[in-house]
């Protein structure tokens, strides 16, 4: 018989502001569950990016600071340096972390800052209505690439986790997806590894999440799950790119 697991109270029991089929709901719940499992529900802080990630203000309880667009990794640095015992996380979209905030993101990784970056990748700017992001797939149509992304003009998409794991001495880097039960479970273990590595003082950790955005992709929630599988996964492989020492 199937079991129904109750979400941790911090995740909120009221209205969630996300669109139907959006990946943010699953990702935030995974984070809440792992915080609970690690006994950190009264010991965490978020620095929030600008975009759909701002929505955490409306339902995710706890200490959350709103950053300027792209600056969460820098703000989290300040938080962590004076609160080394707290779990400090950024929560950002790909536009926030990989476009306008790429300097802050990479420099926090470069310093091996003991924070965890959670980056939701839906391959476009969600909150502003679906413009091209640096993570938009080649040929993908968005509001600012109406004929499909032309990489000869825009350059090629950024693979944040590959870049960070290969160039910087960080503690942990992974990319997960949340479009199937199997992927959700696997991604949950990435979240846990990322937060545990921070708690144990191992260094910087990042998890990128491939998340559906049916509203801006212009397809149904069901079709968007297929789209993650068929379009995103071949370009953005999931898995652990930097594993923890001793693992």
């Amino acid at each position: 018989m199937a079991k129904l697991k109750k979400a941790p109270a911090v995740w909120g029991d009221t209205h969630h502001p996300f669109c139907a089929g959006c990946g943010h709901g699953i990702v935030t719940r995974l984070i809440a569950e792992v915080l609970e499992e690690l006994g950190q529900l009264d010991n965490f802080m978020f620095s929030l990016g600008v975009g759909c990630s701002c929505n955490l203000h409306h339902f995710f309880r706890g200490d959350k600071m709103q950053c300027a667009h792209g600056r969460p990794a820098a703000m989290a640095t300040g938080m962590k340096r004076v609160s080394p015992e707290s779990v400090v996380m950024t929560y950002q979209g790909d536009g926030d972390a990989a476009v306008i905030g790429i300097a802050e993101t990479l420099n926090a990784a470069y310093r091996n800052e003991k924070i965890t970056a959670f980056v939701i990748n839906n391959a476009l700017f969600g909150m502003t209505g679906g413009q091209m992001s640096w993570t938009t797939l080649p040929g993908m149509k968005t509001k600012t690439s109406v004929k499909g992304r032309d990489c000869s003009l825009t350059g090629d998409p950024i693979k944040l986790v590959e870049m960070i794991s290969s160039q910087f001495n960080v503690a942990y880097a992974a990319r997960g997806a949340v479009h199937t039960a199997k992927d959700i479970n696997r991604t949950r273990s990435y979240v846990k590894n990322a937060l545990e590595s921070q708690i144990k003082g191992e260094g910087y950790s990042i998890v990128e999440f491939l998340a559906p955005c049916p509203t801006n992709w212009g397809i149904s929630p069901i079709d968007s799950l297929k789209w993650v599988d068929e379009k995103m996964l071949p370009f953005y492989p999931t898995g652990e790119f930097k594993t923890r020492k001793g693992d």
Partner: protein
């Protein structure tokens, strides 16, 4: 209390911040401020506190916000071009009423400018360069000792109002050596109730957008009422009064001495707070007053606008002449200041407003 010793302005002001209980510093190299960053790089480590050489000024101010929201004493420092980058973060910090301190060791010029001493950032620092409605308390020291004293007090002021405080230094003030007395280590204040502590259970006092309009208006009124600071010199019977802050105020003080020796009734108002502008200082001179001369080391004359607005407010029954002497890419000289005094008195230069 330690003894008087020769110290360079930039080192002295940084050490004063350490003594004041600074918990976190984030900054980036830029001349003529860099000794501040260098001093913190080893002194913060010695005291077991946090120092980050940030990737840029934007990151530095955001790190300061992160430390401040956790209730810790935090600061950043820079010069004109670097302060420009911080404006985004300053606006965000103002939205959440966060207390912290900034130091701007001003250099001359627009764009890259030069490394010469200047007061060219008056407009931006007193008006706020980021989006939205907010005020930063701006303190303008004129000696190395005053740099130390104002920095030492700045965190208390910031925390009292939950507001940013900016110390507006100048290249030459940061680079010069003067005797000064360094204060003792301040006892660490109790962490504020509103801070982030990870529990999510504290009221952070960020306020709602609905209340924001009233909140910022009340806050401005209280800060304007409580925080005006200035020094008046021979203003009681003065006919023409120089208004000058920082290093040019020292030149003007000498000019007043020289003019008085010549029988001229000159005086000086030296604003110590540039925001709130010391409006009350302008109520002090007697009825002999015939005009104000704003003396600044910048190109266009910036503070002169506040001098003119204040004159309009205080002298309602008559139009008070206001003159400007902006010395450009150098400090004013006593000779030039005296020349401008006579030029104003004899109607040889135009009133600015």
């Amino acid at each position: 209390m330690s003894t008087r010793k020769m110290m360079k302005g930039n080192i002295a002001v940084a050490e004063a911040a350490v003594r004041a209980g600074l918990d976190f510093y984030g900054g980036y190299p830029i001349t003529p401020q860099t000794e501040v960053l260098e001093h913190f790089s080893y002194r913060m480590a010695q005291e077991g506190r946090s120092f980050v050489q940030a990737e840029n000024e934007i990151a530095a101010i955001n790190m300061v916000i992160g430390a401040s929201v956790c209730g810790r004493r935090a600061m950043t420092s820079s010069s004109g071009p670097g302060m420009a980058l911080k404006q985004e973060g300053i606006s965000y910090a103002a939205r959440y009423s966060l207390p912290y301190v900034m130091l701007n060791v001003q250099r001359w010029g627009t764009g890259l400018g030069s490394l010469d001493t200047s007061q060219c950032d008056y407009w931006r620092e007193t008006r706020g360069g980021g989006n939205g409605d907010y005020n930063t308390i701006v303190l303008a020291p004129s000696t190395v000792q005053e740099l130390v004293d104002l920095m030492y007090e700045s965190f208390d002021i910031a925390e009292k109002y939950r507001n940013a405080v900016l110390i507006l230094s100048e290249a030459a003030l940061g680079q010069m050596m003067e005797p000064c007395i360094m204060p003792d280590y301040k006892k660490a204040p109790k962490l504020p109730e509103w801070r982030f502590d990870g529990t999510g259970k504290r009221d952070h006092g960020f306020g709602s957008q609905t209340d924001m309009t009233d909140t910022v208006r009340k806050k401005r009124e209280i800060m304007q009422k409580n925080e005006q600071r200035w020094e008046s010199y021979m203003t009681d019977d003065a006919e023409y009064i120089f208004v000058a802050f920082g290093l040019p105020s020292r030149v003007c003080r000498d000019a007043v001495g020289k003019l008085r020796a010549d029988g001229e009734k000159a005086g000086l108002i030296r604003p110590v707070t540039l925001w709130p502008f010391p409006v009350n200082a302008f109520k002090e001179p007697g009825s002999s007053i015939k005009g104000f001369i704003s003396v600044e080391s910048n190109d266009l004359g910036q503070m002169v606008e506040d001098v003119a607005l204040t004159s309009k407010l205080i002298f309602r029954d008559r139009a008070m002449p206001v003159y400007s002497y902006a010395s450009g890419r150098a400090l004013p000289s006593v000779r030039k200041v005296v020349e401008h005094y006579y030029a104003a008195k004899n109607g040889k230069i135009k009133e600015v407003f």
